[in-house]
Amino acid sequence: MNIENLDFYTQAILTLAALIGLTSFLMLGQGRLLRLVFVFALQGLLLAIATALAAYSLNEPHLYISAVITLALKVFLIPWMIRRQIFKMNIHRDTEALKNKTAVMLGGASLVVFSYYVLHPVLHNTPVVMLNALATSLSVVLLGMLLMISHRQAIAHVVGFMSIENGLFFAAIVSTNGMPMVVELGIAFDVLVAAILFGIFFLHIRSSIDSLDVDMLNRLNEVDK
């Protein structure tokens, strides 16, 4: 397959996949919370564009609704909520010194390779675009997990959590032209509730350990001391 021979939709999806993967990497290396949230919103925007494009190219009107929901939720509402929390807690100037940034980046790269490794044998007789898109979304999911492992700020964890959702959503759009509407609405509802709950949790964590550093949540252990 050569990229010149593909239609515009596929080219655009590939490009968006690459850019979404890039935003995941950007988040991974980002120590400043506000920029983290900004990059997250950017990822949401790319996702919304991908959805709208799929709706237009594949003539699936229900995807327009998904695109609008994504735009509202992932680009505006959730980043806005997190931003507000950051300002409210007065941590917008904090910079998190990331430990082992290089190792984390290399780990991220190997996760991408891993995604291809996992999906390649499975999807060998499907269009290569599908493999690329699915591998990208799987790596976005895995990179989101890595983000949660490598960052200590609770807010970064939430952004990681939400970017995992982004990865899943992208997989759903590309591989299956979106889930059935009822499922999609359910997922959107869950995401929204999760975002609100996270907001409540920030306050609780803040009032209980006087910080949002989740490394300080270490009272409970596998084995009681």
Partner: protein, 487 residues
């Protein structure tokens, strides 16, 4: 079908009712009534199924068949008995000032929300809806885990939220792959409906289904509490209010396992091999053994029993993984007796920790003198869960062992070792708590031990003789899952 809609509607009403009026006195009683009504509806539904066979709703969103009906009844039943217990428990917590009116509102509303999510997981025919409901169950319970607002409970809730949220995302990826495999064989409209997929399982791409199953097992496995994704489970159980621990252990874990088994049925149909079973056996056995070892090192009574939950869920996963009719039958039975016994134990544990004012094992001593009913309840419950005859857990564990000996005899010693380790760990801790010298400041509390008695009596009954209609159900479900009848 009306029964299913009524059931869901009732829980929705419950959420709104308690969210608005949850601060009134007698609210615990009303919660019990709600759950009684749900239970009656499920019994009606069960009779319906018993007489008329499986039903699928007109829009194909809901399915009730021989596999999930008994879980639905079980869910409603445990929900009911736990609500009876939680009435007294929450009244006590409010009295000693651990909870405010506002949090009681949250508690009762989320209790109904959790029940709704559980019913929805069980009756969903759409695999995507099932996932959504599972996530909703997490969201509903996460506020309950942090109900006390202690630093520990907030930490536990945070861990629960993050770990389960991330875990379940993997299940979503699995579901997407499933959907992808399904639309390749056509019929985009119904491509996520379990009933449709089950019919055409052999056409699904086996390689994609294998990968999808791995993701789903990891995802839902987090919720089951499979090692190494179990970290949230002891924390959430130990820091949340005790009624929550009872329903988490008794219902949530079961439902997650239910979701895995539903998917396994599709995967088995697609791959025509035993690969999904091997995965389940591996994870199950690992969880079983690891939990049995860790159980010996716990100092908190609720953590002790939550490790026991992991152990039993591991055993069930293993048993479903074996995939023979006998082992499937055993796993179904074990699901039932375990949730009955474990919720009974958590109820007594809740009372015991209220008596002693702490959950530390070394501070709870001589329950049998302070409040004999609680002491006896704890002792009998522990006997039952450790797998002593004549309780139902013995029967099911025996059947699992038997099935293992038939298929993989060399795994039997490992199972026996795990059961022995877990039993030892439980008794080492429970014996002084029940019989030891009373510690100071232990006061009897107002306790309603009827739920415990009923649960344990049922488990005993199941151990002595499984009633014919139940055995029939189990056999039907076994046929559905494993393809042929047991025995």
């Amino acid at each position: 079908m009306i029964a299913v809609y009524l059931l869901l509607l009732l829980s929705v009403t419950g959420i709104f009712y308690f969210a608005l009026l949850g601060h009134r006195p007698q609210v615990g009683r009303i919660n019990t009534w709600f759950n009684t009504a749900s239970f009656l509806i499920t019994v009606w539904l069960a009779i319906n199924i018993f007489l008329n066979g499986n039903i699928i709703s007109a829009n194909q969103l809901f399915i009730v068949d021989s596999f999930n009906i008994y879980l639905i009844v079980l869910t409603a039943f445990v929900g009911l008995t736990t609500s009876i217990f939680s009435d007294a428990y929450m009244a006590h917590e409010k009295e000693i000032g651990r909870l405010t009116d506002k949090r009681l509102k949250v508690y009762y509303a989320m209790y109904q929300g959790f029940m709704l999510a559980m019913y929805l997981v069980l009756v969903s025919n759409n695999m995507g809806m099932m996932w959504v409901a599972m996530e909703a169950a997490t969201l509903a319970t996460v506020m309950l885990v942090s109900l006390y607002r202690t630093p520990e409970s907030i930490e536990a809730a945070w861990k629960y939220f993050i770990l389960c949220g991330v875990g379940i995302a993997q299940a979503m990826f699995g579901t997407i792959l499933l959907y992808y495999a399904a639309i390749q064989i056509g019929d985009v409209e119904n491509a996520l409906l379990w009933s449709v997929l089950y019919e055409s399982a052999e056409h699904l791409n086996p390689e994609i289904m294998e990968i999808a199953f791995v993701f789903m097992l990891v995802g839902y496995g987090t919720k089951i509490g499979l090692v190494p994704l179990h970290n949230w489970l002891p924390d959430a159980h130990s820091e949340g209010p005790t009624p929550m621990s009872a329903v988490l252990s008794g219902l949530l874990l079961n439902d997650a396992l239910y979701a895995v088994v539903r998917n396994k049925m599709l995967v088995d149909g697609a791959t025509q091999s035993h690969i999904a079973g091997f995965f389940m056996m591996g994870f199950g056995l690992l969880s079983f053994l690891v939990a049995a070892i860790f159980l010996n090192r716990q100092k908190d009574i609720k953590r002790l029993f939550s490790y026991s939950s992991i152990e039993h869920m591991g055993l069930m996963t293993f048993s479903f993984g074996l995939g023979t009719p006998l082992s499937t039958f055993a796993a179904l039975l074990h699901m039932m007796v375990h949730s009955l016994t474990k919720s009974a134990i958590f109820v007594t544990v809740g009372h015991a920790s209220q008596i002693a004012g702490t959950q530390r094992i070394e501070k709870i001593r001589g329950l049998i003198k302070t409040q004999p009913t609680v002491g006896w309840g704890l002792l009998i419950g522990t006997l039952a869960i450790a797998g002593f005859p004549p309780f139902g857990v013995f029967t099911s564990e025996f059947l699992v062992l038997l099935a293992t000996m038939q298929s993989y005899p060399w795994l039997t010693p490992l199972l026996l070792l795990g059961i022995g380790l877990a039993g030892a760990g439980l008794f080492r801790n429970i014996q002084p708590m029940v019989y030891g010298k009373q510690s100071d400041g232990q006061l009897p509390v107002q306790a309603n031990l009827w739920p415990v008695m009923i649960h344990l009596a049922l488990v005993l009954w199941l151990g002595l003789a499984i009633p014919t209609f139940l055995a029939d159900w189990f056999s039907q479900a076994t046929v559905l899952i494993s393809g042929s009848a047991p025995l």
